[in-house]
Symmetry: C2
Subunit: 207 residues, 2 copies
DNA sequence: GTTTTCGTCGGACAGCCTGTCTTTCGTCGG
DNA sequence: CCGACGAAAGACAGGCTGTCCGACGAAAAC
């Protein structure tokens, strides 16, 4: 039966949001502090000073928790800046600034993003659909950028729009970033410069 | 106490090797058939028609099993062909042929390699040291190739040897391959051509 | 042919994990 | 005051790894 009494929450809803936030912060912290260990619900609960069952009432499941973490990163991690950087009028500058912005965003959240992407690859819906949505958006954006590079005459003659989209997809990926940032111990700035230049040389006419 | 009687095995050792092989084949098969599901020791045991405890006596642990799988791939997967391709006299051809060979080797074992690499990234020693050793070898090889490209005057003036090593490391990685092969549904040949050309344009003087 | 050795099996066990459920408590809102 | 609800605490089922042990059977040594 429907609740016989209406109930407009104010304080309680806020308190509930705060516990959600505490839990998300705990997961984030755990992934940063021990990136190579398994994150169990129990550890997250203890770190957030919350009961394990509270996590389940707040997020539904382990997958829901990591899904929410992904959404959180999407909203707070500077994704929008990156999108606007790509969409600036000059496509060639959009390439450079987009890749650079991307790299810095990846660098700021490396451990968490790595865990998220690895989990998504290993177990299809271990992190819900967030990673997929995020990557779909990036694919779209890079295809658009490829089209605009073509329209502005920036692509070399032997590079098709599709090929440009593929290479942009590669050069704006977290994996490519991480190969250089972690695998070669380079700074974010170095990685950004290297990737932006590599992409430009692979795609664009010589200046 | 030491065994009071000497024991030279021939038939029994062969039989033991066969069960090891059956188990490795079962893991491989399981990873190919259900790449997005968790591989449990129990399922592997049932698939190999072997007792679960036999896997532990043969490989020690789950990590040992996947470590052995990595070693197996290293020996049977055509790694040596790739190495000789890189080491041919003409460094620029070595770049092309090396990346091409790499890509085809990755394509032949995509699911298994993806599982191995993802596990290694998510849990440091979940797959033993094989992945690390393999990647160390690749890093070495790409640094050598960068040096030889420089020695043969193939590098552009604005690309240092270190930078060339970084970019070769990126373009010869499994992750880069998989981003295009799986993420963009391209054929192995297409990926090979795309990556080889991208690397060459990013590194080398114009012909 | 007898005895030793050892690979394999099957099951029991501890320990950790997820996911669900139920009970209880404290407190906000009408 | 009292209903609503977020949170805690714990019990529970089920799956997983890793270890241990006893038993069987066949190869190897004598």
């Amino acid at each position: 039966m429907p609740p016989p009494r209406k109930y407009d929450q104010r304080l309680r809803a806020k308190a509930a949001d705060q516990t959600r936030r505490r839990i998300l912060d705990a997961v984030y912290q755990r992934l940063v502090e021990a990136p190579f260990e398994q994150v169990s619900m129990d550890k997250v609960a203890k770190l957030a000073e919350v009961s394990r069952s509270t996590i389940y009432t707040a997020f539904g499941s382990r997958a829901g928790l990591f899904d929410a973490l992904g959404m959180d990163l999407l909203h707070r991690g500077g994704f929008t800046d990156m999108v606007t950087a790509v969409l600036q009028p000059d496509a060639r500058r959009g390439l450079r600034d987009g890749i650079t912005g991307n790299v810095h965003m990846y660098a700021a959240h490396r451990d968490v993003l790595r865990a998220l992407f690895s989990m998504a690859q290993l177990d299809a819906d271990a992190v819900g659909g967030t990673v997929r949505r995020l990557e779909d958006g990036r694919a779209q954006g890079m295809n658009d950028l490829a089209q605009r590079l073509h329209d502005q005459g920036a692509l070399r003659d032997d590079v098709s729009i599709d090929q440009a989209g593929h290479l942009l997809w590669l050069h704006s990926s977290f994996d490519a970033f991480d190969l250089l940032f972690t695998g070669r111990s380079l700074s974010a700035d170095t990685v950004a410069a290297l990737m932006a230049r590599a992409a430009e040389h692979a795609l664009c006419r010589a200046v």
